[in-house]
């Protein structure tokens, strides 16, 4: 049996070879198979083989195809003769992958592999039963040659009107066994003939060497500058979109995800196109900064607040790392052929997305400061990872990855930047912080009621400014505009006019223009009036004693207070002044609106749910060395114990004959005794189906109706339910 021989081959591998196999095909150890024979079955299963085949590059695949075209067992020489001498460097790799293996009589393939590769590898037909003489081919009539020409490079099948009454060309070929009939209407070109006609080779275009990527070298400085601009921008976009959603949370679609209209709104808000907006939405979603809340509202999470406090470098790395490994593809959003696919929706996962993304970055990484020409780049990708299952999507994935890498600043001017390179190499220090423009702590106020921050603002200043001015333009600098509405918003958020003026005076490098001062005064005057009634402030308190206390407090003597009700004081001064005085006197007043709603700091909407970034579909992580070693250990142990188990079972069966049977009391006695003496004993144990088996165990302890013991069979500590123990017997 071939399977047996494949498993034997695996059994014969040393630790190093197994480790390299696991590293190349991580799906084999997820989960770790109990023993090598299970490993053999798994490694020979079609899905696992298909994965392994997917990991081949074009040339490796061509060699494998050639192997599949040969009959087993085969020799290295045979493989080379139908391909190219460089195939000899490929064969060991195929063996490492267990896509081919050495048996006693030569190289063989796992038998399910042919299923994976199809019945007609490289467009070759079935193996001929007869042994036609190749020399005779030269004598073929013209019409037969034409038929052969059409079938040589596959597909190897052709239909004829009726096999019993074929044309003269076909008739000759059939007669000479150069064609074999498949059914009433179909004939096929046998494999050997085709290979002969192909000049002894399997492939038309063997591609032992990767295609060369063309493009242009770009000045390092320009690339890095462009990249840092992109990094700044993308971080700003993320912050902006989340603040935008915090203020007006969009409702998720019924099917999940962000609706087209909301996406448009976000795009407009950010000043980007919808593709980019979809990308940003997904990016913050991946980072766990936004979530679809229980009430179907799309809301920023608390993780967003934490994220904001991080350094730009960490913020960037968090998002970029999530982007790198995700199976979600934001490029799918809003395409003409899939209108229903929404950002943050459930339909964005694509199996090869992360692999393709990594490969794209890897190839970019080969040539830093080099802007590749897209077609040659795609050709190399296609060679490196021939996508046989969905080739269209692959080239799109690559294009999207390049586009997104630019947005993220991994590239600048389409060439890998130093930040991108450091990121790809998983270096700790990306140096982003040092290269970002230094945060500025001042603004320039102008008399057209704008304030300009000539660089990224310190977060505190930015927050304060956000609450009293509207952002008009973003980029390296930020342009804020003061208006009646924006000042009023600041007042709504609990600032007083004086506080705003004081903040601006402190923050502005230029003197505050007089018209702005007027504006703030005007608005805060009106704002105060609205808050406390027509012309004056009131102080109210549920507790009349506190009111009395204020009235008689010397510290607030200069407040012209009048009590208009037991719980209400009116004051000729403005509410904010009253509050200032009260605060100074040690009271803790809160401002309130006419309807009695407390006016406190700006309200931030956050989701109640915890962040749960989308899971990653279809990818098995490349295991670390530790995982690999652990898997190997477990497997080896399993192997040993399965030997041991069978021998122990034998011993037990021989020694004990039948299952031990004891009464419940006896059982407990013996168990307790053996626990004390730490001796091995044999038990009969019923499984879920009621069939009892022998177990050899070292009892450890008894608790809550269960026996905890080490099972010699599995080598693990297990829990045995005492009622299921049929009996115990010393060994």
């Amino acid at each position: 049996m071939e399977t047996r021989s494949f498993t034997d081959y695996l059994r014969g591998l040393d630790d190093a070879a197994l480790l390299s196999l696991f590293a190349l095909r991580p799906d084999l150890i997820s989960p770790v198979p109990p023993e090598l024979s299970s490993l053999g079955i798994r490694a020979n299963s079609a899905p696992s083989l298909a994965r392994a085949v997917d990991s081949l590059n074009e040339w490796q695949f061509q060699v494998l195809e050639a192997c599949a075209a040969l009959s087993e067992p085969m020799s290295e020489k045979e493989i080379i003769s139908v391909t190219d001498t460089s195939a000899k460097f490929v064969i060991p790799h195929l063996m490492n992958l267990a896509l081919a293996y050495k048996s006693k009589d030569g190289i063989r393939l796992p038998n399910s592999l042919r299923e994976v590769l199809g019945n007609e590898p490289a467009g070759l037909g079935p193996v001929s039963m007869a042994k036609p003489s190749m020399k005779k081919l030269d004598e073929a009539p013209e019409s037969s040659k034409k038929v052969l020409e059409r079938l040589t490079w596959g597909p190897p099948r052709g239909s004829v009107g009726d096999i019993r009454n074929p044309g003269p060309g076909i008739a000759w070929l059939l007669k000479e066994n150069f064609l074999v009939p498949l059914d009433q209407r179909t004939v096929a070109l046998p494999r050997e003939i085709a290979i002969h006609l192909r000049g002894g080779k399997v492939q038309k275009n063997p591609q032992p060497n990767p295609p060369v990527v063309t493009g242009e070298k770009i000045d390092q400085k320009i690339v890095d500058r462009a990249a840092i601009a992109n990094i700044t921008t993308v971080l700003q976009w993320c912050e902006e979109i989340l603040n935008f959603w915090s203020e007006e949370p969009p409702n998720a679609l019924r099917a999940g995800g962000l609706g087209v209209r909301d996406l448009k709104a976000a795009a407009e808000h950010l000043g980007v196109d919808e593709n980019c907006a979809a990308f940003i939405s997904e990016l913050v979603y991946l980072g766990g900064l936004v979530v679809i809340d229980a009430d179907d509202r799309i809301l920023p999470t608390h993780a967003f607040d934490l994220w904001l406090t991080l350094s730009p470098q960490v913020r960037w790395r968090t998002l970029t790392s999530a982007w790198l490994v995700t199976s979600r593809v934001s490029g799918l959003v809003g395409r003409a052929d899939s209108k229903h696919v929404a950002a943050l929706g459930p339909e964005l996962d694509r199996v090869n997305a992360a692999t393709t993304r990594k490969l794209t970055l890897e190839i970019l990484g080969l040539n830093p400061y080099f802007s590749p020409e897209i077609d040659s780049f795609l050709a190399l990708i296609k060679w490196r990872a021939p996508a046989r299952r969905n080739p269209g999507l692959q080239s799109e994935l690559v294009r999207w990855t390049l586009r997104e890498a630019e947005w993220l600043g991994i590239t600048g001017q389409r060439a890998l930047s130093k930040y991108g390179a450091a990121f790809v190499q998983v270096r700790e220090d990306l140096n982003i912080g040092a290269d970002l423009p230094k945060p500025v702590d001042h603004i320039l106020i102008q008399s057209d009621n704008t304030a300009i921050a000539p660089g990224p603002l310190e977060i505190e200043v930015a927050r304060n400014l956000d609450s009293i001015a509207d952002i008009e333009s973003r980029g390296g600098a930020t342009v804020y505009r003061f208006s009646e509405t924006s000042i009023r918003r600041g007042l709504d958020h609990g600032k007083t006019g004086e506080e705003i003026k004081e903040f601006l005076r402190r923050t502005s490098k230029t003197p505050m223009p007089q018209p702005l001062e007027y504006l703030i005064t005007d608005v805060s005057k009106r704002h105060g009036r609205l808050r406390v009634g027509n012309t004056s402030a009131y102080i109210r308190c549920e507790d009349p004693t506190l009111i009395t206390q204020i009235l008689s407090d010397k510290k607030v003597d200069d407040l012209p207070l009048r009590r208009i009700a037991p719980e209400v004081l009116v004051c000729e001064l403005e509410a904010n002044e009253v509050i200032t005085v009260l605060r100074a006197a040690g009271y803790m007043p809160a401002a309130e609106s006419g309807s009695g709603v407390l006016l406190t700091a700006r309200r931030l909407n956050r989701a109640k749910s915890r962040p749960h970034p989308p899971r990653i579909v279809g990818e098995i992580e490349v295991p670390t060395d530790e995982t690999l070693a652990a898997a190997l250990r477990a497997l080896r142990a399993g192997e040993r114990s399965s030997h041991k188990q069978s021998s122990l079972r034998e011993i037990a069966a021989n020694a004990l004959g039948s299952l031990p049977r004891t009464t419940a009391n006896e059982t407990m006695d013996i168990l307790n005794k053996f626990i004390k003496e730490q001796r091995t004993l044999s038990i009969g144990y019923a499984d879920n189906n009621g069939s009892a088996t022998h177990r050899i165990i070292d009892p450890l302890s008894i608790s809550a109706g269960s026996l905890i013991a080490r099972d010699h069979g599995t080598g693990e500590v297990q829990t045995f339910r005492i009622p299921r123990i049929t009996g115990v017997a010393p060994l």
Binding site: I222, A229, T233, S447, S473, R474, G475, G476, A477
Partner: protein, 549 residues
Amino acid sequence: MTDGPLIVQSDKTLLLEIDHPLSTECRRAIAPFAELERSPEHIHTYRLTSLGLWNARAAGHDAEQVIDTLLKYSRYAVPHSILVDIAETMSRYGRLRLEADPIHGLVLITTDTAVLEEVIRAKKIAPLLGPRIDPETIAVHPSQRGQIKQSLLRLGWPAEDFAGYVDGQHHEIALVEDGWKIRPYQELAAEGFWHGGSGVVVLPCGAGKTIVGAAAMAHAKATTLILVTNTIAARQWREELLHRTTLKEDEIGEYSGAKKEIRPVTIATYQVMTKKKNGAYAHLDLFDTHDWGLIIYDEVHLLPAPIFRFTADIQSRRRLGLTATLVREDGLEGEVFSLIGPKRYDVPWKEIEAQGYIAPAECIEVRVTLTENERLAYATAEPENRYRHCATTMTKRKVVEELAKHHADDQVLVIGQYIDQLDELSEILKVPIIKGDTPIKERERLFNLFRRGEIKCLVVSKVANFSIDLPDATVAIQVSGAFGSRQEEAQRLGRILRPKADGRTARFYSVVSRDTIDQDFAQNRQRFLAEQGYSYRIIDADDVFQGKI
């Protein structure tokens, strides 16, 4: 990161820091392709627009220069998308050219057949085209020269027009520089226009656009049609031309509601050109019946839409647009670009002010607190009457009186919207008033008196918003205005920005009722004026009475 004066924003605005040592150099470098949007005291805002970039292409700049300039002066890294966009936009200009062909007449030629294929498939373009001559060339009906340029611009493929111009009927015109000299920038503007063929010259109010027109006529030496906003402006042009050029009285005709003279140089008003008789434009022939060598459009930013339609049909005549701003409130900038031509010259007013050709100006907003009764009247007024209520209060009148008294020695204009209010003011201040129904003769008489300083103060209604020339007004007091429209503000300010003999700072007061919509309009005004770089102050009416101005 460099230490440049320029910050390129992701929304395609450019922020220029004025106090930076390189700012002047940088401003010169970016002026050809970026439109100045705001110029307050510290940081000026420019904007990159498609039209601006095409203007730059038309002036011979290429994308590489533009990008180099941005990279050179930019303080932070320039967003990649903007660089791509600039290159992309600029490369669109000039791929299509209109040329005169000896056999086929007018032809559209491309350097990129794909573009030609794209545009000839457009619905709006197809009917304008004749037979295909070769893969790169297609015939265009000569009468569609304007139409096709308009449509191509809308498609985003502006065509360069090399089809040339007719010379028009020769007429000797020259400048007569006795007692005055053409200013260097005026000469440059006229030359820039002449070399470009057709196009727009942008100069601030009061910078002497009429002289540029006259200089252009001296270049063309051909019969000229001048289109102006109204009759007063027409008379002014006539005066200027008589004074500055060799033209004689009988060589200049006026074509307006009152007169219909056609002379070698004819000045027509927009109004008469757009007048309809039985549903058809009655005076359209004016464009065709005469062999004009030059057509001048005054105040291009106000050019009414129908005029564009006529202009589309006269693309073989040289066209000069004069304006203070390319910004049109109706968004028809593209029409100006395609039908009159690209921007040929502009100079920021700050530069002209620095050269002493325009008076510096100070804007002062006087806040008036309404009396209780007035507030009540305002609060209970119908929404549509509210503005009138707060704009025409008694309290305002007192303040205006006080201001006039304060500036008794200056040439003062009181400007307003509501005739009742103006009549009242004229009565109280005992000064003449000019309004819509004042006969033109009387207007001219009063203007002349004012010019000679025999009248110190004039009350004027909206008519003053258009192209009048009052060289010696040093103070303007605005009592009411239509909703703070930017154009109106520019015009009003233009009235007082003519250079003063003694180099004094001009003053522009607006009297505003506190806590009313008047104040909201004032806010727009403040924004606009501050954006233009004028200093802006707010004072209280009490300050006026206490003489603290």
